[in-house]
């Protein structure tokens, strides 16, 4: 598993792609081995890539919509070719509900579900799931949470019994809370040692500010995790784990006749009641852009993270934005990666991404670059962002980005887990259940003008937050010379720091 060629480990890796033409004329400069021992004979059929075969008919699987008597929606997709069933319970609440000073509360709560119920301790839960060959996970996201389990179809019933116990009856015993708190503090310490996650976290802080829950890591900070009490956790679970705030997604080798009575038995007693209204969050105040440096003495690479508030998943221009970003930095063959990696060899790979939620999440353009070329790399990032904002995309870029988005749809549904996850996301983001039915048409409808407009309106390179994690004494002077803004130092948690390096004033 060593040494992959992949773009960036953070992302969906090299999936979903786009542009760049086939070279029309083949010019091989300095052909390597003319005296090959015995070369492959050339043939005319090799001259051009063969056209596609008979077009593939693909229709995204549409879930059957069912409901329990208490109103809990159940989305079911039957697939009987493999004896597995994936079950996901989604909530429309996540880090967005973390109260001020308690960043990480939702994530902490989700982490604790399988650490003890009224009738089972953590060890028993782990052992019972594993005895049944079930794989369990639970985590909170920006504005949603998901608890998932995959079971062999033969064991679906006993697995769902434990699953429901974990979801509905977690006990949050003090000893378990304290044990998991220590583990979380350890995880946070580990993340603070990793320049890549530091880059992402500090960027979020600069973009969203200290009053917005998205300004903090999902797992929380050292301070916030210490401040979270057992009472907070119990209250969070009580407030947001409600059938009116949840939905179940089941994909795999089962059917309604088998499934629904089991679900009714396990989740039917779950009391209804509307969840509280989510608080509106205050965004960071607009101010002159600064360039934030986080010092990592001696680092052979700098992590460059650039971003701003992006788009919401239901924004009217979400599809033009997706196409635009595919060209800009999502595909391997994107402008950013082509520049920073293929042209300049400054990086192993860079990317850009829109995290779209019910509200606008961040737009992020990022990558690790060789320390000596930090300022040059940053300048190239800014150049590509400005070019995308003010320029046009070519017909070729547009066609290739659209093709790539459309042709990769079937792969979204390759496994039961992926399919359950795709629909949990659609539901969590408040999108219609026929989202993937209309997806292709909506991609195909995107015009060059729409992409240009999306770039013009959505990208603001002149204001974007810039975070660089690297050896600040070494890189600060040349970054300063780019005149992108005043340089400020922060620590790895994103807190302002007194300037230590002479370079930063």
């Amino acid at each position: 598993m060593k040494a992959l060629l992949c773009t960036v480990s953070l992302l969906v890796a090299c999936a979903a792609g786009s542009p760049k033409a086939l070279p029309q004329s083949a010019q091989a400069q300095a052909p390597a081995a003319s005296a090959q021992p015995q070369g492959t004979p050339d043939s005319s059929f090799r001259a051009r890539p063969p056209p596609p075969g008979t077009a593939v008919e693909f229709h995204a699987p549409i879930p059957t919509q069912l409901a329990l008597k208490n109103g809990l929606p159940v989305f079911l997709i039957e697939r009987h070719d493999i004896p597995l069933v994936s079950v996901a319970l989604a909530l429309r609440s996540g880090a967005d509900t973390d109260p001020p000073g308690k960043a990480g509360l939702s994530s902490f709560t989700l982490d604790l579900l399988d650490e003890g119920t009224a009738s089972r301790d953590a060890a028993a839960i782990a052992r019972e799931f594993e005895d049944l060959g079930a794989r369990y996970s639970g985590a909170s996201e920006a504005d949603s949470s998901r608890v998932s389990v995959t079971a062999l179809s033969d064991t679906l019933e006993p697995v769902l019994e434990i699953f429901a116990d974990v979801v509905l009856h977690p006990q949050f015993r003090a000893a378990d809370v304290e044990r998991v708190r220590v583990e979380r503090l350890g995880e946070i310490a580990q993340a603070l040692d990793d320049p890549q996650s530091v880059g992402g976290h500090v960027l979020s802080r600069v973009i969203f500010g200290e009053k917005h829950p998205w300004g903090y890591p999902r797992e929380g900070t050292v301070g916030s995790v210490k401040a979270i009490s057992r009472k907070d956790i119990v209250a969070w679970h009580k407030a947001w784990f409600r059938p009116a705030n949840a939905a179940l997604f089941v994909v795999g080798d089962t059917d309604a006749a088998v499934l629904m009575p089991v679900l009714e038995r396990r989740f039917g007693g779950w009391k209804d009641g509307r969840p509280p209204k989510s608080a509106r969050h205050q965004h960071a105040k607009k101010a002159a852009r600064v360039v934030t440096l986080v010092d990592k003495p001696g680092a052979p690479q700098s992590q460059i993270w650039i971003g701003e508030v992006g788009v919401s998943s239901s924004a009217p221009d979400i599809f033009p934005v997706r196409v635009m970003n595919n060209i800009l930095g999502l595909s391997f063959n994107s402008r950013l990666n082509g520049n920073l990696r293929t042209e300049h060899a400054y990086s192993y790979g860079v990317f850009s991404f829109y995290y779209a939620h019910r509200e606008a999440g961040p737009f992020v353009a990022a990558g690790g670059v060789i320390t000596e070329k930090t300022a040059e790399s940053l300048a190239e990032f800014m150049k590509e962002l400005s070019k995308m904002k003010s320029g046009e995309v070519s017909d070729e870029e547009l066609a290739e980005a659209k093709e790539s988005l459309v042709r990769t749809i079937p792969a979204l549904f390759a496994s039961n887990d992926q399919t359950a996850g795709a629909y949990a996301r659609v539901w969590s983001e408040g999108l219609p259940v026929d989202y993937y039915v209309t997806y292709e048409d909506r991609v195909q409808a995107v015009t060059k003008e729409a992409v240009a407009k999306a770039a013009r309106e959505r990208l603001h390179p002149e204001d974007m937050a810039i975070v660089v994690v690297g050896p600040s004494a070494q890189i600060a002077p040349r970054i300063e010379a780019l005149q992108l803004g005043r340089i400020e130092l922060r620590d790895a948690e994103g807190e302002a720091r007194k300037a230590v390096s002479a370079a930063a004033q």
């Binding site: 091989a28 081995a33 075969g53 310490a189 293929t342 400054y346």
Partner: protein
Amino acid sequence: MFAAILIAAAALPQIPFEKYELPNGLTVILSEDHRAPLVAVDVWYHVGAVNERKGRSGFAHLFEHLMFQGSKHLNGDERTVFALLERNGATNLNGTTEWDRTNYFETMPSDRLELTLWLESDRMGFLLDTVDQKKLDTQREVVRNERRQTLENTPYGRAEERLVQLLYPDPHPYFGYVIGSHEDLEKASLDDVRNFFHTYYSPNNAAVAIVGDFRPADVKPLVEKYFGPIPRGPEPAPVTAKTEPHTREIRETMRDQVQLAKVLIGYVGAGPLEHPAAALLMRILAGGKSSRLHHDLVYEKKIAQDVSATWDPAMQLGGLIEITATVQAGHASEEIVAALADEVKRLRDAPPSPEELARAKRNLESGLFAQLESVGGFGGKGDQLNYYEMFAKDPGMFAKNLEATLAVTPAQVQKVAQQYLNDEQRVVITVLPEQKQASAGGGR
């Protein structure tokens, strides 16, 4: 255990396949799977870091990057190659280099299969037509950046490398840790590229697995058309390097820019398919929250932040066994070294309980079911078939090995522990925080 009864009836994971060889020696493995209109092509070249010559560590992987820089009929650079695949809907598109093998794979909409065969055959047959100094120099830098990013600028990254260097000391071909050293990467020349290609990238040293939504009758003529004309190459010389057994424990302490100490213990383990018990042994140690290390060190004693135990099943000169634990704040690394040694000793001294073993088997099996949901990509069906073809010359060994694994007895697990996990055979690396750091943040 009620679970054991429930599961017994469940069908085992399976991969139906058909295998044949072209006259030029290329092994072809076809496996139909009509769940989705997708097809995965996964080409394994039986070459890896193990074949690197002295002074050229990292070369097999650098070469892998060059395979993405275009070929005679797809002239351009990596943008050209990725663009073609991406706009045709490729997912799970990548290349990977390991100790003993290198692979190239992509999952495509099934109507793009011919295009994929065209591309893979072009780089197998016509790579050298367009490789030049500029491409080599660019990818050399990209790879050095990869080394900086994934190893030098990643917490504990250098310790992982050091562990391998101590277990497989120079001049062992695994010493280079696949990614290689900056010094050796700088030496790689176009001559090296040509020689490597001619020596190892021939059809008789490769196998192509095609898995997904196609009909073999349609695909066989296409495979013949595109790959058939590529001439057979020389048979690569067998690997002669040997792994010297370790007879004395090695201990090292390293410093890194980290807050938590970490302990890494390595052993040279079994080769591919030598012991079906090896994978189960790792699961019993650290395969899930109820595994021994997790339960005892993380849950009960609370001295470890996280634990892991892995065995690499694809190293012909002895698979790396690595047991790690991050030390929980307030505890000493020596405490962890002792606790890990105790756990390993327990496995040598007594067989695991039947329940533990059954649980390990069940999770291995359900994990395989999940992996087989993917036709391609990391560990998907294409990789499974290719793995067994490479190490057993029989993709059907997948099923046989699974049956053998499910039949493993507690005594066999103990025997493997006794063979490979002795204290005098181990390398212990302790990573300590570089300096007293002001406890980060503390902030809010």
